[in-house]
């Protein structure tokens, strides 16, 4: 048995579902499960903590058992739900199947709880940015907030722009996506107390994630428009 969350469900045959799980010990897995009966319909909804067991070593696993660890009504609602759907789409897009990421699993679980606890704009945006930065670190694409691409320490008084795969490069205050140096040290401390810092963090994570996401944009971004 291990902890897991459903990321996505789609019908497979008349009586079977194809379910993408994010599991604690095996990372992303895709499994075939029986379509639940009337009483268990809530089981395969995303954002609910589950315990599951599966068999098979190929790409497609067979679900042996799957239980909700605690019954909670829709864990996410409204704007938080949009954020949750975004996170799920992001994970499905960038993670390789069957590669374990236990620290990311606990981070994800914490993020879902945080989205549920406080659906304010400030909170949901900080949760998304922290998760994106953690995800980048876990995948080996962590952003270096201490030094610029030439190896110089970041100066809090200067301005920088970010290039995925390269790092921060000093630039003038007026250039398009110039980010103040003191924002970089705040983001490094995950201090998102200011809307302006959140905006800078979004510019950085978007740029850093874009090579991993690929050409097809994430559909869930349309929900926020």
């Amino acid at each position: 048995m291990q902890n897991a969350f459903v990321l996505h469900v789609r019908p497979y045959t008349d009586s079977r579902l194809l379910i993408d799980f994010f599991t604690e010990h095996d990372g992303l897995i895709r499994a075939v499960g029986r379509t639940p009966g009337k009483r268990d319909r809530a089981k395969y909804q995303p954002f609910q903590p589950l315990e599951l067991e599966f068999s098979g070593s190929g790409e497609l696993k067979t679900l042996r058992s799957c239980e909700l660890t605690n019954h909670i009504a829709f864990s996410l609602l409204g704007h938080s739900l949009f954020c949750g759907l975004y996170i799920n789409e992001l994970l499905l897009r960038v993670l390789q199947a069957d590669e374990p990421f236990p620290p990311l699993f606990s981070f994800y679980s914490g993020a879902v709880q945080a989205l549920k606890a406080n659906p304010s704009h400030q909170q949901t945006e900080s949760v998304l940015r922290s998760l994106e930065l953690f995800l980048l670190e876990q995948l080996g694409f962590g952003v270096d907030f201490d030094s610029s691409e030439t190896g110089q320490p970041i100066n809090e008084e200067r301005f920088y722009f970010y290039r995925a795969g390269h790092g921060f490069c000093e630039c003038g205050q007026d250039s398009g996506e110039a980010i103040p140096g003191h924002h970089l040290s705040a983001i490094d401390r995950r201090d998102f107390s200011d809307e302006a810092i959140l905006r800078s963090a979004k510019i950085i994570t978007r740029a850093a994630l874009s090579p991993l996401i690929g050409e097809k944009p994430l559909k869930s971004r349309d929900l926020f428009r």
Partner: protein
């Protein structure tokens, strides 16, 4: 070995949901051996429906007319609009005989991972349809994607100053509390009413 015509019929029947090779064979043999007349009537009905049924111009449900009978009915309240996921939901709500407004069919729900966003669902058509409506009742299914769809519609309708309501989720008639899942009970409690 089956002759090509029978084989073709069996394969054609298998496109139906829940019909496997055995059931398809049983259906084909029944139609050919026991009920030729019924078979011809069925073939005719399928041809007619498949050729002529299209989407209603105002609510997008299935109909062979330009406008479905509900949309064309002047006695139905045009200021109430109920948004549903599929035409089957309209049939269900109509059977309850408790709604006298009009409908709008989304033909799906927001599901970004499947590539279905607001544009794919035709949300712009729904927003056009909101002219003259005073209350939108969102009757999407109580799934995570149904809730996301409801929230999206609610946000857009509120921007236009239209009242938005969501159908209640709760305990079915004749049900017993001890057998109802925790999620439904929590919903039922949260939306309790004073007696």
């Amino acid at each position: 070995m089956l002759s090509p015509l029978i084989d073709h019929l069996i394969r054609s029947l298998r496109i139906l949901p829940g019909v496997g090779p055995k059931s398809a064979q049983r259906m084909a043999l029944y139609l050919l051996e026991r009920n030729r007349e019924g078979a011809l009537a069925l073939a005719q009905a399928i041809t007619n429906a498949a050729e002529h049924v299209k989407h209603c111009v105002s609510c997008r449900t299935l109909t062979e007319q330009n406008q479905c009978s509900i949309c064309a009915n002047p006695r139905r309240d045009a200021s109430l609009l109920c948004v549903v996921e599929s035409p089957a939901d309209i049939f269900a709500l109509e059977q309850s005989a408790s709604f006298n407004g009009k409908y709008f069919v989304l033909h799906g729900r927001l599901s970004p991972i499947d590539g279905i966003g607001p544009a794919e669902l035709g949300m712009d058509k729904l927003l056009e349809r909101l002219n003259g409506v005073t209350e939108v009742i969102v009757a999407t299914n109580p799934t995570m994607e149904g809730e996301a769809t409801a929230h999206y519609i609610a946000e857009k309708a509120k921007q236009r100053g239209i009242k938005v309501t969501r159908i209640a989720h709760g305990v079915p008639i004749g049900g017993e509390l001890e057998y109802i899942d925790g999620g439904t009970l929590a919903h039922a409690l949260a939306s309790r009413r004073e007696l």
